[in-house]
């Protein structure tokens, strides 16, 4: 796994260099005074959720006549490096996910020193003030987790399993902590490795076989919900399923009654608002949020309201 990381890192560094070279050359050609804003995330490449964020960011960039640079890396040091990279490009603003606050602190300071405004979004709800960011757009993951815990209590769950696809990512930890805080029954966590679906399936199967008392499973990412349903079916467990976030498949599963609910943080809005807040700040000196976060969630999508959401989910923006 170590080597895999290394190789991925190599790949990303190579692609980053290629990307930034291309972007630099195109920036030189731009004549009008268009703002350039960098969006930096800890996304795994090729993840639906992050794609929705990016679509929101693109929408805002288009509307505000902004040139958007989108970069991502799921590892702490590489994400920090990306910040250094765009600071050296002298971008006009940075929207970033503060997924690894400590590892990114130095790079954030460098951006401050270069007088580049930074808005946090999606991850780092507990740390954005300490990092002295301009604002924060997202769902407070602790609140979202706590809401899930209450929901589980309300449904009478006794023993819940939390499926975490990225061990060590703070926003996922916060969700878990939120659930742990309010949920009254037995709480357990299971780590899986990203999008390797057979691994997700067999690990969840193993866990459900190991502890047959589990009566509710919560996935921390929606792409995993169908696979976990498979696993629940395969071992003949009676466990119900809820998930964080939303995908078109999750919407279908809710409509079919197989998935109880999804907790939506509206990623499109996160991407959109993060860019828009920077634009407002650059153009009009605005700071939004009144010292607090701009909350985009949590909102539960369940059978009662899923049909409204469905048409937007199909277009890939919810």
């Amino acid at each position: 796994m170590f080597n895999a990381k290394k190789i991925t890192a190599l790949a990303l560094t190579a692609s980053t260099i290629a990307c930034s070279a291309a972007l630099l050359s195109s920036a030189a050609h731009a004549q009008d005074k268009q703002l350039t804003i960098a969006m930096i995330t800890h996304a795994q490449a090729g993840d639906t959720f992050w794609d929705i964020i990016r679509k929101g960011a693109n929408m805002a960039a288009k509307k505000d006549n902004i040139k958007l640079i989108y970069l991502s890396d799921p590892t702490a040091d590489k994400e920090a490096q990306l910040i250094d990279n765009v600071v050296q490009q002298h971008v006009d603003g940075i929207a970033l996910t503060l997924a690894f606050p400590d590892a990114m602190a130095k790079a954030v300071k460098a951006a401050h020193a270069a007088n580049i405004p930074i808005v946090g979004f999606n991850a780092g709800g507990d740390d954005w003030k300490k990092a002295d960011l301009l604002g924060y757009v997202g769902q407070d993951e602790n609140i979202a987790g706590a809401a899930v815990g209450e929901k589980l209590n309300g449904e009478g769950a006794k023993s819940v399993l939390c499926v975490d696809q990225q061990q060590g990512a703070v926003q996922l930890e916060e969700r878990c902590n939120g659930i742990k805080k309010t949920f009254k029954g037995k709480y357990q966590i299971l780590y899986t490795t990203g999008y390797d679906m057979p691994t997700v399936k067999s690990r969840v199967q193993a866990k459900l076989q190991q502890d047959t008392g589990i009566d509710y499973v919560v996935t921390l990412g929606a792409p995993f919900a169908p696979t976990v349903l498979d696993a629940i079916g395969a071992v003949g467990s009676k466990a119900k399923l809820g998930t964080f976030d939303l995908t078109p498949e999750a919407v279908k599963l809710i409509q079919g009654g197989k998935l109880q609910w999804a907790i939506d943080q509206q990623p499109f809005v996160e991407g959109y608002m993060a860019v828009d807040l920077l634009w407002l700040n650059k153009v009009n000196g605005d700071v939004v949020g009144g010292g607090g976060p701009v909350l985009t969630g949590p909102a539960f999508v369940n059978k009662s309201n899923v049909d409204e959401v469905a048409k937007f989910a199909k277009a890939g923006t919810r």
């Binding site: 639906t48 498979d230 003949g236």
Partner: protein, 347 residues
């Protein structure tokens, strides 16, 4: 007895080895020891591990590593690496999905196109290797990174999203799902058909390696490439063929994944190439080529499956998960090497 004293003593008398010695000298003997050790360990430590349904869960995890690992083992015996195998699996499922949803509307055609695509990647790897004379590690690192980028870029370009559309409503889905992703229920345990194919491929590869001319060629090419060429082994063809075999195995697994999970996230598969290589090496393949076995790769995958699932069955602290997996793998490999060293020392 007196006759023997009269004859000229032989330089080195050939003694038929005992049956056990012969088994112990096979490349996969060490891995078998490691597998038994890990199995017994979790059997004692984790009561849920003892159920039959737990065994099938382990086998399923193992089969999804084992199917490409068989081909990778053959390739490694032939003296080469393939780092592109992990993302090639994702690339093949993406190809099948996109050929179907965008062009042909029928999954059979899409699956066939994906097969051609996967074989072409293999052929390209082999061809680049022969033409550039670079180490396969570098060549396939290049194709690995290129494929990884292509997976995401093309998916985004074609579908506008980074995951493919759900294919479960497309024509041909039911028949192909039966072939690639059906489950057989035995009591309360679900047995995936992937396990059956895996064992079949292992048997087939073992037969080819040990009983056919092509098998001899593979060993020769990996052990002593130049000498093999000198005695008339078609080295280039064997190597390109082996890369295409890896391509085929990636395609096969990709079909299973596509028809089991209906959509593909374009970022999946990264890192799995190392699991395939690890399974082969744990199973007795030498990194330098010319030595190894197909059964070994299966045992390697089985050890990995048992370890990752076993840690869950044992209900150890999940924060320590990767540590336990690593430690168990190391233990299994050490036992494995120890057995092999002992076997080689004796006659």
């Amino acid at each position: 007895m007196t006759e023997k004293a009269d004859t000229v003593p032989l330089r080195q008398q050939y003694q038929p080895q005992s049956y056990w010695k012969q088994i112990l000298k096979r490349p996969e003997a060490g891995a078998l020891g490691g597998a038994i050790l890990v199995f017994v360990f979790f059997w004692l430590m984790a009561p849920p591990f003892r159920q039959f349904s737990a065994f099938t869960t382990v086998l399923y995890q193992a089969s999804t590593i084992g199917i490409p690992a068989v081909a990778v083992a053959l390739l490694m015996i032939g003296g080469e690496f393939d780092l592109s195998a992990g993302v090639a699996v994702t690339a093949s499922s993406l190809a099948a999905s996109m050929f179907t949803t965008q062009l042909f509307g029928n999954l059979w055609v899409g699956a066939f196109c994906a097969l051609i695509f996967a074989l072409a990647i293999g052929a390209l790897n082999g061809w680049l290797l022969i033409r550039t004379k670079l180490h396969s590690f570098l060549v396939t690192l290049g194709t690995f990174l290129m494929l990884q980028g292509l997976n995401i870029a093309i998916t985004k370009l074609v579908t506008g999203n980074v995951a493919t559309r759900d294919i479960s409503g497309m024509p041909g889905f039911d028949s192909l799902q039966t072939i690639f992703a059906s489950n057989i229920m035995v009591g309360h345990a679900q047995i995936s058909i992937a396990i059956v194919y895996w064992l079949l491929f292992v048997a087939l590869a073992t037969w080819v390696l040990l009983r056919t001319k092509v098998g001899n060629w593979i060993f020769a090419v990996g052990g002593q490439g130049e000498s093999a060429r000198a005695v008339g082994v078609p080295v280039k063809q064997v190597k390109i063929g082996l890369f295409m075999l890896v391509g085929f195995s990636c395609w096969f697994l990709s079909m299973h994944l596509l028809f089991s999970y209906n959509t593909v996230q374009s970022g999946a598969g990264i890192g799995n190439e190392l699991l395939y290589i690890a399974a082969s090496v744990v199973g007795g393949c030498l990194m330098t080529g010319g030595y190894g076995s197909a059964v070994g790769s299966a045992l390697g995958a089985f050890i990995f499956g048992m370890t990752t699932e076993g840690v869950i069955y044992a209900d150890w602290d999940p924060d320590w998960f990767q540590f336990f997996v690593g430690a168990m793998l190391l233990l299994a490999t050490v036992v494995n090497t120890w057995i092999r060293a002992r076997a080689m020392k004796g006659k």
